[in-house]
Amino acid sequence: MSNDRRLSDGPNWQVVSFDEAVRLAVEGMAPKFQAAPLTPEQVAATLRAAAAEGLAVRPRGAGTKMSLGNRSTRYDLALETGGLTSVLEYRPDDLVAVALAGTPLAAAQALFAEYGQWLALDPPYAATATIGGTLACNQSGPHRLRYGTARDLVLGMRVAYADGTLARSGAKVVKNVAGYDLHKMHVGALGTLGVIVEVALRLHPLPAERRVLACAAPSDIAPWPAMASVVGGLLRLPLGLGAIEALNREASQRLAAAGFAVPAGELLLVVCEGHPAVVGRQVDEVGRAAAATGLRTEEIATGDGAARLTAAVAESRTPHGADETVLKLSVPLGDTLPALAELVVALPGAPLIAHAGSGVVHALPRLAAAEVPPLVDQLRAWARGRDGYLVVQHCAPEAKIGLDVWGSVSAPRLVRGLKTALDPTSTLNPGRFVEGL
């Protein structure tokens, strides 16, 4: 057992100093060792050595989502990917880029923006997160309505496995059906099957124009049924809208507190984007649909301001304060706003932010640790009744004792089988993922 081994530096890692232990600690557990490989080969060598020594490895990008997942059962080595920082290839005239996993998302986006392009992911923590961490945690934001999620944008990947194997899947072109799409399996796998070291990404052109409309209900109109009707209508038209987000009163207050001029109360934010003529039509359609249900529409941001606003919406679902719990509820997409309306009643005072066209609601109730498990049980049963899921994305560490933040999964035998096949030594993030893996 690693506990019995003499603590000493090795070729692949160093003993952590006290300060580093504080920085790298997660939920009260500090690693004994840290590694900062500079190449994919070094990542693989580190994993192989760690697996041989029986060390449990926690991969770490910028460290923004370390609290995602169940409590680790073991944590011996912090493997930081920050040294793997480079956009290896960028072909603007093919809308494809290849980057090392530790590349900061924001730095890559800045590069792509010079060519009028972007990686169409606008997740929370976008200012600091790495590309690899964003993919490993399957983070997405408001624009998933138009562009899908990471699985739709990842073309290929190079992954370091616990036995030291470095293997690729996919390709560096936008269309490819050779081999298994293992890169999509690693999206959202939280580094439990392997450590992402390099990714090939599909990029999109930045829209020529962006305008954000806010639809709000006057006091004599029930907001959620009206908004549900607006969203339902808009989704049936081929408008190519960028995003549709629904915010309850508390969530819109959060945007106001962040300095955005938004109307008070429940809001439906619609991101219109594309060619100016297209945006003009989108704006008309949104206004018409809103007016038909009695909602008032106003334009609240354009251009860069629109991008800042959608980024702020994504950021508003990060925990604000130590006792804020982040719950992610998924339902069939047409049920998003009815679900949101029920959550408003079930979770008074909690900010609620929904991807109104995608079936995802984020709820951020303030809860004492002891309140989390019973609430999760209750809401999980409710979600299951809607063919949906509840995942606890963040909560107080003490709340996780006896709690499975993921809930049950389909095909558990296959899920366990994949873990056994690719990380038989349980080297990677043990205990942190579904099924106690």
């Binding site: 194997t165 081999g179 298994y180 999206v187």
Partner: protein
């Protein structure tokens, strides 16, 4: 890495046939040589004799069939429309072909959730017709869509001309009921997004039936476009035409379709269809823009400007729906039209970065010439997906050798430019020889470990996708190697 070692020896097909007949009825188990021969090939060039064909008609029968085949320890080969081009449904290790011909119910359509659930044998166009009255569509539109099934599209991650704007099949599958080799059915994904756990749905899509068989599939539907504008741009050189593709891609306009055809292709389809393509052009682009009318119109205006800047000698915008339909009909029937150019042809499928198309197409021409072959090339240019058709006469003694040699060199060019050996047809058995040029042994070893989680005895569609030491298939004897793409 050989699969053969995992195949149990000793089969009693007659016992198995009787067992299957008890499940599906005696008339739904085929074992006579004529019937079996019909299931021995697909739309590609390879063939292998089947041993039994079984035609279940619901999920319960499918599960029972798979369990029985599993107990017998023989291979099971799922088969949809049989339109594939890579031999992915040929029974190259014998065993039982499971036909989806009767599993073609649309289980539910839920427009409020923009989704439908279908059995694997539902034909792509059948689903399209069912949801069109709701103003919805299933976006993937392989040229085989009149005959190919959603199950087959899913297994092969099918593409199509309109995947440029909407994405390939993988982008439109929300979940499935996957039947494993022992008959156990597992639900992957579903109506709600972001199911916790590993994304098994994305893993199964495109796995060519090697993980299991998709009995039911939950598909994403999208609104049908309000307006469609279609145009043809003619160029006096392939290089200029290919360069124009890169310019369109970089401009930020995303056409729904951006197809390119060289002169040989134009001549073939024009002779066959008289759709109005200019036979004097060295290359043409068929470009479609769609969405709301503003998107189609502004997109069209941008593309016209880009084409003019790129040196197009003539532009023609379809003036009517009939004209548009004619242009597409000719394009989608280009497979058959190739028969006018030569007695035989071999359609290839590779992908390259879109900015390298001019160099790659020049290399394709050069390679064909070096092997004394003519080539007619058609591209899903917007995706960088090239389909050169190597034209030959199989009566010439060394023709097939020259085609194989040229084909291998062309795929190497795709890889050298950073591309892929297949964009939409799949590996099947056709590309087994070249898989190792794209993936290392380590890459394939990891993929096999994943396969073994789903199908530890490797009975689901064995001999496909993963290179094996010996191939058991032969080029079959049809006089014209037909293909649609």
């Amino acid at each position: 890495m050989g699969n053969e070692a995992r195949m149990p020896a000793g089969r009693d097909l007659r016992t198995l046939a009787a067992e299957l007949a008890a499940i599906v009825g005696p008339d739904r188990v085929l074992s006579d040589p004529y019937s079996l021969s019909l299931y021995s090939y697909d739309g590609g060039t390879d063939a292998a004799a089947s041993e039994l064909v079984v035609i279940p008609e619901d999920g319960a029968q499918l599960a029972a069939v798979m369990a029985a085949v599993g107990r017998a320890g023989v291979a099971l080969i799922p088969r949809g429309g049989g339109t594939g081009l890579a031999g992915a449904v040929i029974p190259c290790e014998g065993g039982v072909t499971i036909s989806f011909a009767r599993l073609r119910r649309i289980v539910s359509i839920q427009p409020e959730h923009l989704t439908a659930r279908v059995e694997g044998g539902v034909v792509n166009l059948q689903l399209g017709r069912a949801v069109a009255p709701l103003g919805l569509q299933f976006a993937p539109d392989p040229s085989s869509q009149a005959a190919s099934t959603i199950g087959g599209n899913t297994a092969m991650n099918a593409g199509g001309p309109h995947t440029l704007a909407y994405g390939v099949t993988a982008n439109h599958i929300l979940g499935m009921k996957l039947f494993l080799a022992d008959g156990e059915a597992v639900e992957l994904g579903g109506l709600a997004p972001d199911a916790p756990g590993y994304d098994l749905t994305s893993l199964a899509v495109g796995s060519e039936g090697t993980m299991g068989v998709a009995g039911e599939i939950q598909v994403r539907l999208i609104p049908r476009p309000e307006a469609v504008r279609t145009m043809v741009a003619m160029f006096s050189s392939v290089e200029q035409c290919a360069g124009c593709v890169g310019a369109i891609i970089q401009s930020g306009v995303i056409p729904a379709a951006l197809e390119m055809m060289d002169n040989n292709t134009i001549r073939a389809i024009e002779a066959a269809t008289h759709a109005g393509y200019p036979v004097e052009a060295e290359a043409v682009l068929l470009i479609e823009l769609e969405g709301i009318s503003e998107a189609a119109e502004t997109g069209l205006a941008s593309v016209i400007e880009i084409c003019n800047r790129a040196g197009a000698i003539e532009l023609k915008v379809a003036a009517s729906e009939a004209e548009r339909a004619g242009l597409w009909k000719a394009r989608k029937e280009s497979g058959g039209a190739m028969g006018r150019l030569a007695p035989n042809y071999y359609v290839m499928d590779g992908v390259v970065p879109r900015n390298t198309l001019p160099q790659v197409l020049a290399a394709v021409e050069r390679i064909a010439a070096e092997h004394n072959l003519k080539v007619a090339t058609l591209l899903h240019a917007g995706d960088g997906n090239i389909h050169p058709a190597l034209l030959f006469d199989s009566d010439q003694a060394d023709a097939i050798d020259r085609v194989r040699a040229a084909g291998a060199e062309i795929l190497q060019v795709c890889l050298d430019y950073g591309g892929s050996i297949t964009g939409e047809h799949g590996i099947g058995v056709e590309k087994l020889d070249v898989v190792r040029r794209m993936f290392s042994d380590d890459d394939l070893e990891i993929m096999l470990r994943v396969r073994d989680v789903f199908d530890p005895r490797r009975r689901c569609n064995p001999g496909k996708l993963f290179p094996t030491p010996g191939r058991c298939i032969e080029l079959h004897g049809r006089s014209l190697i037909e293909a649609h793409w």
